[in-house]
Symmetry: C2
Subunit: 430 residues, 2 copies
């Protein structure tokens, strides 16, 4: 039985999960590959912290070159995250003819094209299933299973922290800050949760999904990003009354050869399968010409789900090594029919508006007139019970409207003397 040697860089939460699975079921993995996986080295800056898996001291190292320069290590597993020095490590591994498995979404979102081209030039494999959706095999689905399809829409709940917070607000009637505190207590939010709740982690994942699903490399700066930090419990309640749930969605669409990519809190009908994805779970909905609507659901983070994806990738690469079929599947196929990115201001959706209006006659008419002047029509209006002296919340659902028109109309509406707070606007997906 041939052996394939592996080096793991990064012995944190995911690294522990990968090492535990590699050491814990050697025969199980061996039978699936027809080769033995041998863990040759595990590298981390800090080896003093106690880990939940026992590793032979001889394979632990703080020197990354013990892995990168080792002639007999074939697969390098990069699990340190972040752009630097992960990028340098991966490029060095490529130069030395090593295949790489990584979970690094930030790196692939920021330098994906460069990394993918370097792998191709070096004629090595690069697999990255754990970079999006934890244990959900969405990367393989896009690269292989669905690859005869023209995809038109991807909607993803790809950040567990945000989804946990929105679920807790919705189900336990917590405020945003209470829900965030609970998420931190349970270990679902980091001490500095900005990357998650402000939507940038979702944007990283969306950049990867967009490259694979649409064959188009999108600059992170071209993705419109709006987080959940301004979502209030009252908007969640009003949405519920109307039959909707609020989710943080990563959205990419190809509309007539024009690509849209954005991350935003979104109202979803309670009938939409994504609206039932709760807590730290993730899900990605993909719509395409042949398969129609498909959905992939699972645990979006955590040691074991990430290990499932990393191990799946290691097995894939090992099968390629054993069969001498490196680069069997192109990372992505560029689609030259996509002409351009649609500017966010040009995107169209339905909208939920919550206006804080002084309770006096003629107000609604004024608001409706301004919307009408911008070509925006109202689908429904609910005036809520009076909350504070004279100020009432008015909830409106708009028909499809262009973002730019809505912004311009809201600028005018917010300047009305009858409007007492900045109007809340949340987009709606079908």
């Amino acid at each position: 039985m041939p052996s394939i040697n592996i080096g793991v860089i990064g012995f944190g939460t995911v690294g522990e999960g990968v090492v535990r699975a590699l050491l814990g079921k050697p025969q199980f993995l061996e039978k699936r590959i027809g080769a033995r996986l041998v863990l040759k080295a595990v590298c981390d800056r800090d080896l003093s912290r106690k880990r939940e898996v026992k590793v032979d001291r001889g394979i632990l190292t703080t020197d990354v070159n013990k892995i990168l320069h080792s002639p007999d290590i074939r697969i390098v597993v990069e699990l340190i995250g972040g752009v630097h020095p992960a990028k340098e490590f991966i490029l060095e591994a490529f130069r030395r003819g090593k295949h790489v498995v990584t979970a690094n979404k930030a790196l692939l979102a920021e330098c994906g094209k460069e990394i993918f081209e370097a792998a191709k030039r070096a004629n090595v494999d690069l697999y990255f299933e754990a970079s999006v959706g934890g244990g959900i095999p969405i990367i393989k689905a896009l690269r292989e299973s669905l690859c005869a399809n023209h995809i038109d829409t991807m909607l993803g709940i790809v950040n567990g922290t945000s989804n946990y917070i929105l679920s807790a607000m919705s189900e336990e009637s917590l405020s945003f800050n209470q829900a965030l505190a609970e998420a931190k207590k349970k270990g679902y939010a980091e001490r500095n949760p900005a990357l998650d709740i402000e939507g940038f982690d979702s944007a990283h994942k969306l950049a990867i999904l967009t490259l694979l699903g649409f064959g188009k490399s999108v600059d992170l700066s071209d993705i419109y990003v709006e987080g959940i930090e301004d979502i209030s419990l009252s908007d969640i309640r009003y949405a519920q009354d109307l039959g909707y749930v609020i989710k943080l969605l990563a959205i990419a669409k190809n509309i007539d050869g024009c690509l849209e990519a954005r991350v935003q809190p979104t109202l979803l009908s309670r009938e939409h399968l994504l609206s039932n994805v709760k807590g730290v779970y993730n899900a990605i909905y993909v719509h395409s010409d042949l398969a129609g609507g498909t959905l992939f659901y699972g645990r979006g983070a955590g040691s074991k789900p990430a290990a499932s994806s990393v191990l799946g990738d290691i097995i894939d690469v090992a099968r390629n090594i054993k069969n001498d079929s490196i680069n069997r599947v192109p990372v992505y196929v560029e689609d030259r029919t996509i002409r351009k990115l649609r500017a966010f201001s040009e995107t169209e959706s339905r909208y939920y508006l919550r206006l804080s209006v002084i309770d006096k006659p003629g107000c609604l008419a004024m608001i409706a007139r301004i919307l009408g002047r911008h070509g925006i029509s109202i689908a429904s209006v609910v005036q809520k019970e009076r909350k504070q002296a004279k100020i009432v919340p008015v909830v409106m659902m708009l028909h499809d409207a262009k973002e730019r028109n809505v912004r311009q109309a809201l600028d005018q509406i917010n300047r009305l003397s009858a409007i007492k707070k900045k109007t809340v606007a949340i987009r709606v997906e079908r």
Copy 2:
């Protein structure tokens, strides 16, 4: 650019979808493979029927040997369904060194092991994504993405006809017969729908899932099969009142090395993601040691979704041909730790019971006593409004109980003079 020649056997609904996709996007597919797919021959007994895709008359044939004996056809796509003569065609293709892509669930369920071994001996590839779940890439997920996992549970809604009927009963308050008639009118049920509504189609798919997910070949005759033909609208309503939905599930579990495989109508909590899978959609829930709970959802049937899976398989095989990596992924890996199949009578679940009881004192006590004597405890009881003179429906939810004990208790209960109709018993999954 190298060419790979393809022959399609069976020019029905799925065949049309496959041929249309093959002819409709040649460059798109070519870029994904690095080779040109050439449709060399399409075989069907009936070439007179009008198809929705135009095919060069020169490649149409009624003689299957034009495909099986053609030396330059590398991939045979079998889409005629049923065991014979599909089996003979596939085995002949293997003997002549051809790779096979099939959507044939009945054949793989009945003779899977034989077919898989013949493919291995002939050193050819056999792919069959479209055999379970239409456009849902569950086969690849089990064979590749999740293959580092020990799977413990699979729950599948894998028959669109049954799911359509149950959804229509539940949402439009139709009787079973009304819903079946509607399904036929819409083309979601065949003229003879027995295979679908009696659960045997689901059992075929379960046999395939079980082989891949648990590495265990299960005889169809060892799968307990119960269909939806006896599900009444009142049970759907009572279940709804208790927060449940009724679904036809294909269930496979590995409990301590003992395998269970059954198809049955099942109460699922409204919170369960599978309970939101409606209409003709399919979904498969998989739980495993690393990934945890994952779910795969999509269109379970139809020309285009099946074509998505068949094309995905063709691309996979073509990539193997191009990279000389045939048999790169074993069809399944036998798991010798599974000692035996658990007999259906030994399986445990929670139960929903609906009893038709004469409305007189002492009845409930008598029923509770019989259940207690069989070690079965009651979780809740609801006595429904009186329906007919003196006969009232009583709905009970039981705690976990062994099937055999429940059957024995019900035999006694049904013989009570106070019980006026056979008691309905439906299992509950969490």
